[in-house]
Subunit: 442 residues, 2 copies
């Protein structure tokens, strides 16, 4: 894959500078000390879920594969590092030839995770692995946070479709990744054209209050919209008086009007009134879309209302209170040479101040009960118990530097729906609680 394949509108010629300064200084010191080539294993995991959440959602893995493949120190980057004296010439020469040649294993994208789950494992020389820390964490911490919020919203919405419309509330490129993560979590469509372009996610949208205000009257605006977009369009009915707008909408578009959108007010009350009015006007097939500061709780509270679709913005792209995960990238084992035959030594921070972790290269499996419902996340460093051999979670993603395969977002989305469905029922309750299954170390 070359950089052009990453696609417009965001062409990322290299991901090598999505890196913290200290990764390069560690590399320089390790090259000088002769320790840079020691065989090493890094793992990505989180010590806890965001407060009150019952499960996490792995998202961003596909973007990580792109980032690793495009992690190259080209000439302008080398020149920058030299001019700013960030590392010495020996290190620059090493970086100029950089290609990741190691292996990456991980939870397949869309899977759920729990505290301690080794969601990604990166193996190779210390030098080649340590450099990937920041870009891998940026992607997984962001995308997984958004997907987790999306998943809860999708549970709350049931069969009703969710529209992602948060682009205006987050960084313009975080917005594109958010649309992708939302789709994985169960959203149906996005308003973000860049997400449609880059990831082929279906895009939707019709009009804003500005369109109504532009025209001499609301009726003029509705007529202009219906003339151009057809009676199947969605008319925004809360610029002036909702009841008057609904009457005008059906009058102009006919009873075949596609939908009306309500973007303010008491949505429960207004949706009931609008439904009744639409039905009285014969527009029994006209749908109602609501879009005002919704989160999973507001969506759940509208379950009994005559609402046909939800548009969600701010709360989706900010992770509904948890805009990032706390995933970390830790060295868990290393040898004292590059020799693959030399056994790995488990390593871990041990100071008393917290942030300790468990050393050793880990496997993970999800133990199920007799009905096939998950009952524990089992993590270990020794041999995998025979009973769990078929339930292992980590799959190989990159082998010897080559990406083994890429998945469509629909495959990932279906995987997430299946993974969530395999959790105990209380996983999807919105109230605060602990992780829905315990993590067991063996």
């Amino acid at each position: 894959m070359n950089t052009a394949d990453l696609g417009l509108p965001v062409d990322v010629p290299s991901t090598a500078l999505f890196t913290d300064h200290y990764e390069l200084t560690m590399l320089q010191a390790a090259l000088a000390a002769g320790t840079a080539e020691r065989r090493s294993v890094f793992e990505v995991f989180t010590r806890r879920l965001p407060e009150g959440r019952r499960y996490g959602v792995v998202a961003g893995t596909g973007r990580v594969l792109d980032a690793v493949e495009n992690f190259r120190f080209d000439e302008p980057v080398i020149r920058f590092l030299r001019e700013r004296r960030i590392v010495d010439e020996r290190t620059l020469a090493w970086l100029a030839d950089y290609r990741f040649t190691g292996d990456v294993w991980g939870y397949p994208e869309g899977e759920v995770y729990f505290p301690g789950s080794p969601v990604l494992r990166v193996e190779g020389s210390f030098a080649e692995c340590v450099l990937l820390e920041t870009v891998i964490l940026s992607i997984l911490n962001h995308d997984s946070a958004i997907a987790a919020a999306a998943s809860r919203m999708a549970s709350a919405a049931g069969d009703r479709p969710l529209i992602e419309m948060g682009a205006r509330r987050t960084h313009e490129l975080a917005a594109v990744a958010s649309s992708r993560a939302a789709y994985i979590g169960g959203f149906a469509t996005t308003s973000d054209l860049a997400a449609g372009f880059r990831y082929d996610i279906p895009t939707v949208g019709t009009s804003a209050h500005a369109f109504t205000l532009l025209h001499d009257s609301e009726r003029d605006a509705f007529r202009a919209q219906v003339d151009s977009l057809g009676a199947g369009t969605t008319l925004l009915v809360d610029t002036y008086d909702v009841a008057e707008a609904v009457r005008a909408a059906v009058d102009i578009a006919g009873p075949g009007l596609g939908a009306v959108r309500i973007d303010s007010g008491d949505l429960l009350l207004v949706a009931h009134r609008v439904r009744q009015q639409l039905d009285e006007l014969g527009a029994t097939g006209t749908r109602i879309v609501v879009t005002s500061d919704l989160d999973e709780y507001a969506i759940a509270s509208l379950a009994a209302a005559p609402v046909d679709a939800y548009g969600v913005g701010t709360q989706l792209v900010t992770g509904s209170g948890h805009p990032t995960c706390s995933m970390v990238y830790k060295l868990v084992a290393r040898a004292t040479s590059a020799d693959p035959a030399e056994p790995l030594v488990p390593v871990a921070k041990r100071s008393t101040g917290g942030k300790t972790s468990i050393g050793g290269r880990k496997w993970a499996a999800r133990r199920k009960d007799g009905q096939g419902v998950a009952e524990a996340e089992v993590i270990g460093t020794g041999p995998v118990p025979a009973a769990l051999a078929g339930e292992q979670l980590l799959v190989e993603l990159i082998k010897g530097g080559s990406v083994l395969s890429r998945e469509s977002l629909d495959v990932v989305r279906d995987r997430h729906a299946a993974a969530r469905a395999g959790l105990p029922l209380s996983a999807t309750q919105l109230s605060r609680g602990d992780a829905v299954i315990p993590t067991e170390y063996v």
Copy 2:
């Protein structure tokens, strides 16, 4: 400016798809109805500050200028819009020629703002202005949220430098914008190399726990680091036992050791102990850097501790509880033609459900008391009172489609420091409160 000037590592050939689908459908309908060329004024403002905050910080304006200049519908974008049938051929032809030809006024970047402040005003035809909504809001909502958190942290840190190190906790490109916004808010440096590359922000960093764990002993790791990076480096002392690490650090680097970093534990307690130990070892000039889940409150609580610098990650890039602002982009006035001589008609949403706004093209000024301290944000639509003529906040940024000037980040950073210093003292208290000055409409 062509796209190459936007610089690596993120080459954005066009910003035109950072746009919600409905902006293009509104354009199509307005073109068909003959209303697309009506002279229009859109304003960006927020109805309220994030809960408890005393002031907002305008950040992202420089990025908005780049985005507007690079808002072009090139061939691959047009092809995408055609294949997905997002708009009709007439609209595609119009988009292919799109260049913004209007005017943009705004609060200068780094200024503070309050509820209702018209932080940006975009004037031109409805068609050319409506398309810019999403990308402008994405940038301002994200960057201003980060800058506001940074500004509070900078107040709390006083003269001690702040290091931005949140890249791993947010989208990889949001991270670059976050470093920029943090610098505007008062941070001194960043760990993010892409931010150093793109915006020339000073980058810093030395080593992580992985570097210590890679080596056969902590002493080996310290020796490797000091040998390569010099005694002026910063050694991370909390991998195993802090007291032992500090002893080893001074032993290996000598009393000229640059700094030690503490990344876990009770920072107040540990900093005092480490300072005492360093002093006893003769390393009186060795600085102490702390970096563990800090926010403005933790920074303030360390004011009396012997800490020399703070590294801040998660809480900075997530806006310290407020990861986005609630800025909106609203049509506030329009004519019924393109004729500049025709007076503008104020317009505003009026439904009872909330989200109403005040119509009309606005000016804004900050009224000061006898001591030069701000006492009110004054906003109006009529003539500017003579007493406030010299205190107006909006400056012209784009005229007839051309960006009038670009500012260095240092100018913006200094402006922010001056603007904050011009507020009543209670602006920088960390406790929750209302906007520190009222907004008055005249």
